[in-house]
Symmetry: C2
């Protein structure tokens, strides 16, 4: 248990707090559900303007969090995620404005039919309702998640990390001011007011109050949420992604895709962690050398280790490791069947890719790999809502229900069936 900041009382009844916030969120969600696109977009633009106008207060608050983090022993990586400056804050405001410009999913027709008796059926998108976001040190999530949730007509309940408490409160105050200006309910975006971790538990069991929980953060957070939640969760635990270099791969593409997929940014969930090289592929050493030159540690099975003194032997754990670092495991496989079997056994079903010039092999790989994203001759680093043209993403989901892969505005909606008749009764 985390007792929160010293000035805060412990939370007497977390369930009561979340029930009360959930009831207010539901009321706000009802208003948001029928708000026009222009109204929602105007509110987001007002929120972005407030983020810019309140920059001094937000940066002051962030400085308090940074000071506490430095004295509290946060790692350099955590401090970097926590840090705001004018450029980053402008980026946050820009992102809110970008969401305001996205097409509104609410009200979109999914399909339409007329029954033989003349009844007209239309499936239309409607908001999910109330979305809970549980996140760690990045204060930008406060604005990003609120913007995406609101644009899809939902109320959001935000619970950020205690290390970013002052930053989150300052950002939330700016968002709330923007909502108030535009006449949308302030309860559309609520920040859990206490840092006590009991509030997280209460959110996770708030069935009927919160419609979906989206965790944003490291594997520890996501694992806890997936383990404890009774509310449905949209998330991915990890990205153990594979790049399979087929015997019929073009060597130039193989090298550039391997280096990009692994090394462009090693810390993102779309980074490749394991490369599988077909025994029939002509130039495996080029791939190893290119990775080593790019600064990557290469761990290989026996066949791969025999090719280069730069390769260290992989152990069994390497095939199930998400390094999120400049480390790659490489195995030799005997053709696409063995690659499919390895991927089926070890993939986290996030993003897997094949490099080949053989269309039939590519089609088979695309059909048989059971992952949220399956690629042919493209870098796994493209696994991202923005890169997919979705405008922004709230996260990437590897579960099978509701939404899979990059989740953006559409994933934050559900649908209802509208039936228009002229008095039809059922015989």
């Amino acid at each position: 248990m985390n007792a929160g900041t010293p000035t805060e009382p412990r939370l007497a009844d977390a369930d009561a707090l979340i029930a009360e916030m959930g009831a207010r969120a539901r009321t706000a969600a009802k208003q948001l559900a029928t708000a026009t696109t222009e109204r929602k977009a105007a509110a987001l633009r007002a929120a972005a303007a407030q983020l810019r106008a309140q920059a001094p207060a937000i940066l002051d608050a962030n400085a308090r969090d940074m000071a506490a983090g430095e004295s509290g022993g946060l790692t350099a990586a955590m401090l970097d995620r926590l840090r705001l400056d004018e450029g980053r804050l402008n980026g946050i405001a820009d992102a809110v404005e970008a969401v305001a410009a996205l097409p509104d999913p609410v009200g979109a027709e999914i399909d339409r039919a007329v029954r033989p008796n003349g009844m007209e059926l239309v499936r239309v998108r409607v908001p999910l309702g109330v979305i809970g976001i549980i996140y760690e040190s990045r204060p930008n999530v406060t604005a990003d998640a609120a913007a995406l949730g609101l644009m899809a007509g939902n109320a959001v309940i935000l619970r950020g990390g205690s290390e970013a408490v002052h930053s989150n409160r300052a950002i939330h105050a700016a968002l709330a001011a923007g909502l108030a200006e535009s006449g949308l309910p302030a309860d559309a975006a609520q920040l859990v007011p206490v840092q006590d971790r009991a509030a997280v538990g209460a959110m996770l069991r708030a069935q009927g109050l919160i419609d979906i929980i989206i965790p944003r953060g490291g594997k520890g957070l996501v694992a806890r949420v997936q383990e404890e939640a009774r509310v449905p969760v949209l998330a991915h635990l990890d990205g153990i992604n594979h790049l399979y270099i087929d015997g019929a791969a073009d060597p130039a593409k193989a090298v550039s895709l391997a280096v990009n997929a692994k090394m462009r940014r090693t810390g993102i969930c779309g980074a490749t962690e394991t490369i599988l090289i077909d025994r029939a592929y002509s130039a495996p050493l080029e791939i190893i050398d290119a990775l080593v030159r790019a600064g990557c540690e290469v761990r290989g099975d026996k066949a791969i280790a025999a090719l280069s003194p730069h390769v260290t032997p992989a152990d069994a754990g390497d095939w199930d490791s998400e390094y999120l670092d400049a480390i790659v495991s490489i195995a030799e496989v005997n053709g696409v069947d063995a690659a499919l079997a390895h991927i089926d056994a070890h993939s986290s079903r996030h993003t897997d890719a094949i490099v080949t010039e053989d269309a039939a092999t590519a089609d088979r790989f695309l059909a048989e790999v059971d992952s949220a994203i399956v690629m042919h001759n493209a870098s796994t680093q493209f696994a991202d809502g923005g890169e997919f043209g979705l405008g922004a993403e709230i996260g990437i989901a590897t579960g099978r229900l509701h939404a899979r892969g990059p989740v953006a505005l559409e994933g934050l909606t559900t649908y209802k069936w509208l039936v228009r008749g002229t008095g039809q009764t059922r015989p």
Copy 2:
């Protein structure tokens, strides 16, 4: 705890049993995921033929269940649900053949885009994976659920009620023979081999083994499943459906819709349970009289009770009751705002309808009622996958995630993203 039939040992380790069945189902699901439409349809036609060929064995088995049910004190309604005869069994086989003729959802493109860098993105439907069906006395569910699950490329794990154990085993044996003939894996449709209720608990916590649970049965079963399940559930708990007669309703439509929505079949989840009549509506007594003539007990609020000696006073519980019987509660409301408020407070968000000739009021009702199905000038009794043109339904869902309203083949699928490139790396 139910110890099952006397000849059965108690289940030593329910989790191990379900884990083992789940692993076999996953293997089968992988084969089904890439099976062609014709292959799946042929398997279902073979299963239907086996159901017809094995009719004597199935009817014998059913006779054993009926005898046990009669001596065990099952109600007449339960015995009726349990009973098979040649006509009903033919109907079950017909239904399996009808599913075989439905359009295959697997492989259908949801959308397609080409990115500025030339990458092509396609979202295609793929099977959900492994579906668990937990049901009560109706043995037809064994065949219906297996057929829908298989046609959408899924493996199914079936757990029927102990009162139908022999019927379910005989039906399952016929299905398995049909699958075997067609070369699809027998593990594509497994029946939990023991009646010990611990197996149900093991299914409900089989995260990662079973992708979704669909309960089919009474409110007690659904409530238990929703309460205990850690696996996602598609279901509706009840159908507290409303018919709102607006001041601008056509009286002839109002009477025929009220009688049909309530009385056509009172025991189905799409039956209307509460009628709301606008104070401005001209002929409320006609509606009451027509319902009474049709054999319906009418419980009304003060204003309604004052209209007819046939109306008994409703109490507070009536507005939250799913009668599933020839009983209706009727309240007078002051216009569409009051109707919307009543529905928001009392609807189970299954199906709610308005009767009006005023297009603007109808549009508002359709937009603001937050239920899976919202109707204008049509009977709530149409809330059914078959009536919606979906061919067949596995159930109706009132949750907000994944699928809402009638769930048919599409609801038993998810999607994946296929990305086709020509060597693109991410800058």
